[in-house]
Symmetry: C2
Subunit: 175 residues, 2 copies
């Protein structure tokens, strides 16, 4: 499988056939916003949070921030990325905070490769469980189906969590 | 009911018979740690998080940090406090991140007064739902019973969330 990224910083090439960039740069704050915005499914609030997580990593470093990244760079910017890290107050439980792939990239392939690499990276950091939270809204059905195909199990479904008619689906997968 | 705190900064005295201090100071970082530690139920990780929330408020201010506080000061330090704020990515949903009362204070009274004042303050900020998360462990039974007495409903129960045998109980109350 071809490498899709410059190799300035690489992730455990022995455990995955993919190599992703792990170190964010200042330019990624805007680049992540452009990518997340391109998907058309995230609110202004959520886009702000995506930016913040990159900024927190840049300000505090990966360990203190708790925000780990995998990036796939393409000719026109970031084609996909994930952000994940340990859930504060838990023992070796991690959360996949973000996974986003540009609409022009094959979500089913790039999304899956990013997901698998994130799980491998989390496991290498000691994680025993990966949590993924998403919405119960109809337009998030592809996201829920994606997690279910990747072996995630629905752990909780809380109606009206985000807003009226917009519940919270909490998925988990043992690593 | 007597006021328990200096009135340098006060919370909506028209909506509650209690008046609590809302503005943290640098000294509260250590004072909150001492209080939280005195309860005997929180881990080192959790105590670190309690400190961080005060630090975030001091560094960014209440709005940007999203961490609101109510403090009850006594002759030997903080007797009780809450920390609450809007849940990122939700519309007017708030979470009660912390409520702690010194073992020598009457938990049933001071805890309840802090809880009610936090709900009133959140409602004044537009909140329609207050979330409280705690553990399913046996030693957290008093915390769960406390929320249930205050009208909180169990929205989700996720086994092994924090650790093996230490699940997550998510409570919610419409405001």
């Amino acid at each position: 499988m071809p490498n899709l990224s410059p190799l300035s910083s690489t992730l455990r090439p022995e455990t995955t056939s993919d190599i992703f960039r792990t170190q964010p740069t200042q330019a990624d704050v805007d680049a992540v916003e452009r990518l997340v915005r391109s998907t058309g499914v995230f609110s202004a609030d959520e886009i702000g949070i995506a930016r913040e997580l990159v900024e927190e990593n840049l300000a505090k470093g990966v360990v203190a921030s708790g925000y780990h990244f995998l990036f796939v760079d393409g000719p026109n910017g970031i084609e996909g990325y994930t952000c994940f890290g340990p859930i504060p107050g838990t023992n070796a439980r991690f959360e996949l905070y973000w996974i986003a792939v540009h609409p022009q990239a094959q979500f089913s392939r790039l999304g899956k490769r990013l997901q698998i690499a994130s799980e491998e990276a989390a496991r290498a950091l000691g994680a025993v469980l990966m949590i993924a939270e998403t919405s119960t809204r109809a337009d998030y059905a592809p996201a829920r189906a994606f997690y279910e195909r990747q072996g995630y199990r629905l752990l909780a479904d809380i109606p009206d969590w985000h807003d009226e008619g917009d519940g919270l689906a909490i998925y988990g997968k043992k690593l």
